[in-house]
Point group: C2
Chain length 347, copies 2
């Protein structure tokens, strides 16, 4: 299960939880490992079984599948993992954490079909792996990734408003990679007025990627007629305006919005100061990519404003995230720190 | 010489430049490598020759010594490297950069003694290695390391002034390690009034280290009678008050101060906001250890204030420093980023 956990953290956080799977033979030898790579891709169990097939495994009747999360029972963008496991004929399934979402119940389904299932292997670690995803699922809200790109002194623009570019090209390419994996990008009306971003996802060659995320603007002010993110189209065609300052309301509105044929389940909040501060103040940030560019501005707009924290013990606390490339990545001259909220009760 | 450069960057920056040396035999096989580990320790050449002796080398008459910096001619805390090289009987010395300081001239000294010397091997890289140290030496000023320990939003205290502790224990231990290697620690009068720091250097067990750095306070206000850094002693006994707001004046005053039997050549500037901002504004920061604690305060005191930068192109720019442990180090839950100024003309 430790190996399955190590596989799981290779994947990205988002609409789906991190999951890793390992298939072993009757002697405990590893036949294949697999992990989930984000919404729309193979679940960890399918990834693992597919790799086992590719490695020449044909008879699964004496194999055991370790999986960090209960196999799903739901046929969505991917077939139900319980069916794949049954069809392959895996003898035993060892499960880490149970799935609290409507996709759960795989343990019972498999047992009904006669598969031996042992539940709760390294349960605590397997649950902790997705502690924040579980929390978001429990609140029935979409998963929130935040992009913070700032100078050493946490500024996002100089005194005269210049901000292109504080971060390096590699950092910006990384942001475009994150944009490709989310369903929607959210910014405030003020950011639209001052920066007029396009909010497109581009590949390394600068070309638009096929599935563009929904461009969402949040705030009470109007979105300027000529805003680039509109691409000259009416609201609802690739972009929407969420007329609220309440981040939870914004998330609820996004959750009921269909885009590219499915509901929005993962949003990247890019800025600016007011929107980011509102999400942090409401504890609605599930993942942070913090890009620090090694320059000092001394004045200009700060990335964050008052959150209502008055003393150190009230600070919003995060922890280094080992998933998806690890806690620190050097991007040209910038350093990207990958963070997630501290698990509840961690201190 | 590339190997010598790789050895050099293992050392710490400070009063002395980074230097690496490699001794090879007549067939170009490496017999030993060495590097300098900071003021008061063996120079790279001596470190290398000592290791060669320890490895059983007795006859140096067919050896070649690569060294990234011209061997010194000066008998200070360490014997002159030119003498050590001559005494060992090294046949050829290949030098990277020349030493612009009064310790230079080793190339000529060795040649006079009949040693074959080739100068300028990978000169540009060897000079760049200590570009900022060279600049400080050219300005005849002491080397400045800065400690910046802050939250994600670049705050050093919450709204109510609480600041102990924003960073992790491992980060604070690292700071104590840096304190051990400098000659003096500098803070502003305001920091003394608000935080009343002891400014001592302690080892991992919390015990005071034998050679304590000079505790220097900068600013026009008086230092409170009961300030802990005074340790109940009169000025001049372990602490001094530099009655200026001008960082260059402060450095000059420090340079003429004797402490632990030698002049101050390396200072750690720890804060607060005004002192740090003055050093950054005057471009008098040679090295930065930036500790980011993964928490958000939203309000409270910022680490830095206005530097007179009004637009992005005027920003003070730094670059990741690969020396002394590399550009990023995880310290518990904090990330320490090691930076140095961009070389002049880098953009």
């Amino acid at each position: 299960m430790q190996t399955a956990l190590e596989a799981a953290i290779l994947g990205p956080r988002g609409a789906n939880p991190l999951v890793g799977s390992v298939l072993v033979d009757a002697h405990g030898r590893i036949l294949a490992t697999g992990h989930h790579r984000g919404a729309g891709t193979y679940h960890a169990e399918r990834d693992c079984l597919t790799r086992a097939l590719a490695a020449g495994v044909t008879d699964f009747s004496s194999t055991t599948l370790y999986t960090t999360l209960e196999p799903c029972t739901h046929y969505g963008r991917q077939p139900a993992c319980t069916d794949l496991i049954s069809d392959a004929g895996v003898r035993t399934v060892l499960v880490g954490a149970r799935d609290p979402s409507p996709n759960g119940g795989g343990v019972e389904v498999l047992r009904t079909r006669g598969t031996e299932v042992v539940d709760g292997i390294l349960r605590e670690q397997c649950e902790k792996l997705n502690h924040r995803w579980n929390e978001a699922a429990g609140q029935q809200r979409i998963f929130v990734t935040v992009h913070l790109a700032q100078s050493i002194d946490a500024r996002i623009a100089a005194a005269d408003g210049t901000s292109q570019w504080i971060t390096s090209e590699t950092s910006r390419e990384h942001t475009h990679m994150i944009r490709q994996r989310v369903d929607a990008i959210l910014v405030g009306t003020n950011t639209v007025r001052t920066d007029d971003p396009r909010l497109t996802a581009r590949d390394e060659r600068g070309a638009l990627t096929p599935a563009q995320p929904l461009r969402a603007v949040m705030g009470l002010s109007d979105v300027p007629e000529k805003a680039q993110l509109k691409q000259g189209r009416p609201e609802g065609e690739g972009w929407i305006h969420l007329r609220t300052r309440d981040p939870l309301k914004a998330l609820k509105d996004l959750a009921t919005t269909q885009h590219n044929g499915h509901p929005v389940k993962h949003v990247l909040v890019e800025g600016g100061q007011s929107v980011l501060s509102a999400f942090f103040a409401a504890d609605l940030v599930d993942e942070i990519f913090l890009y620090t560019a090694p320059l000092i501005l001394g004045s200009g707009r700060s990335s964050l404003a008052d959150l209502g924290v008055t003393t150190l013990t009230e600070a919003r606390r995060y922890t280094l995230d080992v998933a998806d490339g690890g806690p620190t990545t050097i991007m040209d001259n910038d350093v990207c720190i990958h963070l997630q909220p501290e698990p509840k009760g961690a201190r």
